[in-house]
Symmetry: C2
Subunit: 542 residues, 2 copies
Amino acid sequence: MKNHTGQLPLVTSISVAAEPPSLQDNTADIDRLRMAVAKELATGLQNRPLVVPLAVMAELGRRLRAAEFVGYAIVNVLPHELQLVDFSAKKPAVIPCMALDLGTTHLEATLVDCTTGTTIAHAHTPNEQMRFGADILSRIHHAGRNDGDGLLELQQAVTASINHLVVELAEEGRTKPEFIRALCVSGNTTMVHLLLGLSPYHICREPYTPLVGWPDPFFAAEIGIRLSRSAPVWVLPNIGSYFGGDLISGILASGLDKMEKTSMLIDVGTNAEVVLGNKDWLIACAGAAGPALEGGVARMGMRAGPGAIEHVRLDRHSWQLEITTIDDQPAVGICGSGLIELVAQLFLAGIIDIRGKLCRDVHSGSPARREFIRSRLVTAEEGFRFVVVPGDQSGQGEPVVLAQVDLDAMMRSKAAMYAILTTLTSQVGVEFSDLDHIYVAGAFGKHIDPVAAITLGMLPDLPLSTYVPLGNSSLHGAELLLVSEEARLRSLEIGRKITYIELNVNQEFMLRFSASRFIPHTDPGLFPSVSIYQRDKSAQKG
Amino acid sequence: MKNHTGQLPLVTSISVAAEPPSLQDNTADIDRLRMAVAKELATGLQNRPLVVPLAVMAELGRRLRAAEFVGYAIVNVLPHELQLVDFSAKKPAVIPCMALDLGTTHLEATLVDCTTGTTIAHAHTPNEQMRFGADILSRIHHAGRNDGDGLLELQQAVTASINHLVVELAEEGRTKPEFIRALCVSGNTTMVHLLLGLSPYHICREPYTPLVGWPDPFFAAEIGIRLSRSAPVWVLPNIGSYFGGDLISGILASGLDKMEKTSMLIDVGTNAEVVLGNKDWLIACAGAAGPALEGGVARMGMRAGPGAIEHVRLDRHSWQLEITTIDDQPAVGICGSGLIELVAQLFLAGIIDIRGKLCRDVHSGSPARREFIRSRLVTAEEGFRFVVVPGDQSGQGEPVVLAQVDLDAMMRSKAAMYAILTTLTSQVGVEFSDLDHIYVAGAFGKHIDPVAAITLGMLPDLPLSTYVPLGNSSLHGAELLLVSEEARLRSLEIGRKITYIELNVNQEFMLRFSASRFIPHTDPGLFPSVSIYQRDKSAQKG
């Protein structure tokens, strides 16, 4: 029953040899199978009811007869029941199941073999809901339109995206959609509501209450997803309107809930979501720190995709600006990590001051510096803007620029992030220096240069080894749940154990936010290492 | 949670007052309700998982908000889980649920209020499957046609009949189909398979194995029955191809499984099914004793319906034959109870001999007797036939007759019945005289005259007070299950506890069958009371 990793997967096969029916024992086929399977159950599962869903019964009966009552039963392992769903004479070589990171803008999925835990296919696609609005609020608004039709449209859009992924995964994994036996979904609270066809109306209205946090497993067909007819859908629980299953996934993937020492998890998506804790306690909060970092606010901001500027380095001798774009495509915009590096570099070069304002000092520094500022820092209607890539070198013929208004948004985001982190730690009397690790989830964690983030005062000034990128932990958590009952039970336990702090009503947060609106901070003593990368005084002096 | 009868019904309402959401506690609506309901659960239910089916979640959420979190939760009480399915501000005055006797030829149903156990409507209808064949074998044959299309046709036919009943019950009960909250079905094994869309192929083929005996509850919508979307369907288990849930119903309704003293239950439908036992043990068997008694064999035989001769009395002084028909309509045929009385009367009058043959002795007895025999006993191609009702007095212009061939079938049926009863009792060393009661189910039990059945040697010669008619115990058992968890658990327990004897492979049965093919028996000592009603020797002597 356990897989190659010693775990109990969401779908497993059990070797069964039932006696065929006879005049001496004409117990019905399905009951016969049920009894034979019950005998083979591991000790911990013996008290769990073993049910046969009506939808699979006819086919199960046919396959049982075809195999002459000897072979492998396929069982869905749910918390409160085992579902006996299929039978085959041969041991299934793989049991393909789907893990899904249900993002607001993008969906990413893998096909995992539950018997080995191996990933056998990988795919991603934009969320078709984008045509009804780019962000969560516009989706919630659309869901309320036309007496439920809007909600239905959104549900159909996202299931279309998922079905698209299903076909792609099946192809790459050399299987068929109807052989994919389970789906595990990790997403934010609103995305999960829309997938389930549930109104997100109250999510964005005080007191910010989701309709459901802990949906029970259901069948994929119930929401129009075309997998095996017995495929259960396991949705990671959310514990609040702004704290979704994607973060529970992150906790699982990082193992925060099992650690002796206190660590922290940061997930920056549309919101910044932060969890602090260890095996004994978990505390979490979320806040609107993300938009500028995810490309939602900066005019040239964009998601990490081809042509997005992801790294920026300014050589303060030659005054050459080196940029790296994703896939080495001509630059079309700038993503979160690129923006942070750019601002950090410009701050160190004295082109952005400690208040986060572009300053056009063309009279100090070397001639190269003066020329650099003269050519790059131009005046526009709304103030200065910094030309990152001139129009003749960009991917779209238009220059890629950083305007003051974008910089202001970025400053608010970085201040919010630091304020969230300090508010959370102060709630439980933990110092940053007590933290064993800070796990950084998502594209943000993967691409960000902690040095740049520390320079700006966005992340605390800790040894760089403290920072651990997690990658797509939302997806990784969903994968873990597919292959391990221990992870599934942990996901439920985490939801019960976590304490959530609502920042919208936190006065302390607002004070900390104001104090963080300088680079690196109103109290530079909090960032001793920033002196190492400190501003190029000589250049300024020139 | 318990209803007015102190029982826990299949669907119940639970008074709940949840705190409305606040910034201090923004637990999701559904989880909030779930926790509030969990607090109100009776001790015995607290460990049962409380789930919310996805199909009802959106509406449940709307109704919970409308009621401002205070009111009554509607809960389906299943053996392994509680399903939280609805919410209303006001306590539901009634919780209408449907009980169904799923017969091969006819369906009978009631609407029961689960809160009081009161019957609020009653309806019956022919089984639309009749157009695909009158008996079980022809249905099984049809189910195998056209690669599953036949099975689908049969399923759609019976669900159409059930939906017809639903509308009728709703109208009579002054409610709507969508407010009917559960369905409990009692039927024979084949009928249940066809309702569930499961192949009955192996039911009639050695070793006579059903596909399923214990289907788990499912939702009515899954088989196309239009009740509340959260209505569970509870199907009474069958314990063999020839021992269906209708008989489990009969055991429940009679209380056989709770009795200190040993009793017997006889159900004559298409088959004769017999159960013997008490609170400690139950033993059962079934055999083809029914057709002649149910109108399937006798040429003029018919189901107990308008115009069926149900009682026959022959005055052996005036030699007048008095008949009673159902609804006092002109006679069109003869039903099982009428046939038994007719044969008993003719036997007592010396017109049928102990071998069960019509004998045309026109030379003995009174002139009235001679005239009676002359006019009533006519010669036909295949032998004698007895004219029960002349053509000019019948409902169809044709005489209603009893032919020798019908009589032969009747003799086989009565012999089979007595052989079944003696085989079963001898298996456990019980004497007929040890029996406290013999419960006789169905139309057969309702209409049959035990005196006539004893005269023929069909039922054992016991005091008449031993025989208790049960009426439609299949329907009554289904009603019990709706209103009482104790009955639901008993229905499962009965299935586990019962020992089933396969008569098709029983040599002893064949010997007993041969010995029973006399009136009353080859051993008349077994029927001492038949002397009281003994044959009119004087008449024979003339």
